[in-house]
Every structure is written in structure tokens, then in C-alpha cells.
Symmetry: D2
Subunit: 138 residues, 4 copies
Amino acid sequence: MSEKPFVSESRFRIRYAETDAMRIVHHSSYIVWFEEGRSEYMRQVGFPYSRLESMGYYLAVTEVKARYLRAAKYDEEVIVRTTVASVRSRGVTFRYQVLRAADGELLAEGESVHVCIDDDGRPRRLPKEVTELIGRYA
Amino acid sequence: MSEKPFVSESRFRIRYAETDAMRIVHHSSYIVWFEEGRSEYMRQVGFPYSRLESMGYYLAVTEVKARYLRAAKYDEEVIVRTTVASVRSRGVTFRYQVLRAADGELLAEGESVHVCIDDDGRPRRLPKEVTELIGRYA
Amino acid sequence: MSEKPFVSESRFRIRYAETDAMRIVHHSSYIVWFEEGRSEYMRQVGFPYSRLESMGYYLAVTEVKARYLRAAKYDEEVIVRTTVASVRSRGVTFRYQVLRAADGELLAEGESVHVCIDDDGRPRRLPKEVTELIGRYA
Amino acid sequence: MSEKPFVSESRFRIRYAETDAMRIVHHSSYIVWFEEGRSEYMRQVGFPYSRLESMGYYLAVTEVKARYLRAAKYDEEVIVRTTVASVRSRGVTFRYQVLRAADGELLAEGESVHVCIDDDGRPRRLPKEVTELIGRYA
């Protein structure tokens, strides 16, 4: 058990396609960034999500929440910080913070809840290797 | 005052671009559909969102939540049902249900919280006309 | 053989998420609309693309072109007109026009070239039923 | 004048949201990557596109073409190589190659044509500073 949870960081620039007619980032883009965050998290703890899929497991999203605090603009660099809030035998909950890289300002935060399913969409236990690995970092 | 809240309905087919490698609709697509839902709601109550924008007002999203119950697939028809959960002088909360048109199965539900801002991103009171109109239907 | 090619029409409103910081529709959205156009085309000639996929065939895109003539805005209604430019044993070329519904103004036009592949990504002949059907309407 | 044209490189991982039900990257995602490519190009030659916009100029897309050679998958790293094919007083043409980082395989290539417009959508000459700068690298 770690004393504090592991936090992964993804860093990228905001794409023009991610903005909308309010001249700021469209709120649905953050949902995609959260996903980018948990991809990076899995990669950094040593079990890329693509490997999980190649084993026939998927982490289906059952819930997502986002709270938007400040607007972000095209070309700004952002950092997505991802942690695991909890891990269960059949699922996992990730938590996210999106920060503006230039000044560390918190732009948005959120959470996503996932259940493990197989190729046929049936609920499955996460591979033990994954729950143990994530559990160690959570 | 209406006895029960007004519910708008949008109906459309799922686009291929809205699916992902799990062969189902990507969870961020529902966030876009919610937006489509509230666009239709505003249009149906007689105050299209585009008119609000042409007056210099915007409904910035401060919070969004979605709960996913069943997967949806390319080419299926869906219905988005939208209601107003509450309206305040400075904002409004919409609630959504996404149903599969073929059998009425509930696919997802969610909520979005909005504040009214002006061209410079400052919080503003919603035009009285809008709060009254929405208030009548909520 | 028909004397003139069949033209399908899809009609929908522009979504806010499809706009960008120039306050107009992002150019990549038209590529998605073209896809929506050929989906509707296949449905209207009686062979929905989803049926093709359920038989293990896919129409992979090998080329896409778009020419943008006028900007489009959120909430405007557009019409996508789709025709088949040519059909081959192993592929098909679709052609598109995007019009503003209000005044019939041409907003963009384009083309997409497709090859038929199977589940493993290998080139395949289109089912004869499909080439014949599309050939009749092209 | 440079002897050979400047080539910028953007490098990033494929997002899950960029895939579709064929389990590969959706063809419209490449159009967004091209944009990412020219953003990086402008940044690298010393005139970020965001600076152009802050001066009241925009590079509207009038044409885009893409040719798809090989499929790409979630989590693969790609490189977008961008060059300027030509620069005119009122516009510029960019050219792109998308490569899989792991083995340098060419996945797609394309081109986009742009005209310079102002806040009101009227054609304008590109700032001389920009045509000179890009001209030097083209």
C-alpha cells in the first residue's frame, strides 16, 4: 500500500477543433481529456488499457461527472491529473483535475465510474493483476 | 404555472462517428446529445438559444453528469427528452433522458447546470423574458 | 438503369459542438455530415450500411475531399444531398452537396472513395446484391 | 530562402474517442490532426496561429483532401509532418503526412487550402510578416 495515491499527468495543447462558438473549449472535450487522463494513468502504472482490451476486457463507463471552473482557450497547454478513487473486483473509479499549465489554475475536475465487461458486454471481474496493481497505487 | 413540467423531444439516428472501438456509442457523444436536447427545448418553448446569443448572453456549462445504463449502436434511432429541473435569476438546470426509439429502453440520463454570462464571460442575470418563459414550463 | 442518378437527402440542425472559435462550423464536421449522407443514401436505396456490417463487410474510406464555399452557423438547418459517382466490384465513390435549408445556398461539396474490406481488413468484393442495387441508382 | 522546405513534427497518442466501430481511427480524426499539424508548424516558425487570431485574422479552410493508406489504432503514437506547399498574398496551402511512430509507416497524407479573412469573414491579405516568414520556410 502506498501512503498517498499515485497521480499521473498528461500534458497537451488545446486543439482548435475542441473549441466552440463561445470561443472557448467545448465542455464535452473535457470528457475526452478525462479519458486521455486514465489512458495515461494505466500506461504509467504499467498496464496500458490497450493490453486489457487485447485480453478481451473493457472498462465501460457507467457514470461521468464534470465541474467546470474556468474557461480554456485554443493553444493553451493543459495538464490532466488522474488518480484512482476506488477499485472494486468488478470496476474502478477515476478522478481528474484539469489545470492550465501556464499558471496551474484549476479549469475543471471530474470523476468517472467504470465496470469491467467482456466482448459480449457481460460484467466480469477485473483481472486480479489489474485490481492488485491499481489497488497498490490508489 | 403548468401542473407538470414541459418535456421536449429530439429524435435522430446515431452517427458512425459517434461510436468507438468498443463498437458502441462513445460516452462523450451523450454529452453532445444533451446539448442537442436543450437546444430543442429552448426552440420548442419559443426562445431559441441562438436568439439568446444574438442578445449577447450565453449559458455556460458549470456542471454535467451522465449515468449510462445501456449501450447504443450505430444507426439506432434515439430520443432525447429534456426538462428544466430549476431556473434561477442567473442560471438554469436541465435534465435529460436518452431512450432507444425502437423499444423505449432508457439508455442514459443526465443533468447540466448553467450560468448566464455575457460576451466578456461575466455572470449576468438571465433576461427576465427567459426566466419567466422557462419558469412557466419547468 | 435509371435515367438520372438517385439523390438522397438528410436534413438536420447544426449542433453547437460542431462549431469552433471562429463562431462557424468546424471544417471536420462536414466530413461527419458526408458520412451521415451516405448512411441515409444506403438506407433509402434499401440496404442500410449497418446490414452490410452485420454481414461482415465494411466500406473503408480511402480518400475524402471537401470544398468549402460558405460558412454555416449553429442552429441553422442543413441538407446533405448524396449520390453515387461510381460503383466498382470492390468499392464505391459517393458525392455530396451540403446546402443551407433556409435558402438553398451551397455551403460545401465533397467526395469520398471507399473500398470493401472484411473483418480482418482484407479487400473483398462487395456483395453482388449491393453493387447491383447501387449500380441501378448511380 | 531555405534550400528545402521546413517540416514541423507533432507527436501524440491516438485517443479512444478518435476510434470508431471498425475498431480503427475514424477518418475525420485525421482532418483534426492535420489542423494540429499546421498549429505546430506556425508555432515552430515563430508565428503561432493564436497570435494571428489576436490580430483579427483567420485562416479559413476552403479545401481539404486526405488519402488513407493504412488503419491506425487506439494508443498508437503518430507523427504529423507538416510543410507549406505554397503561400499567396491572400492564403496558404499546407501539406501533411501522418506516420505511425513505431515503424515510420505512412498512414495518411493530405492537403488543406486556406484563405485569410477578418473578423467579418471578408478576404484579407495575410500580414506581410506572415507571408515573408512562411515564404522563407516553404
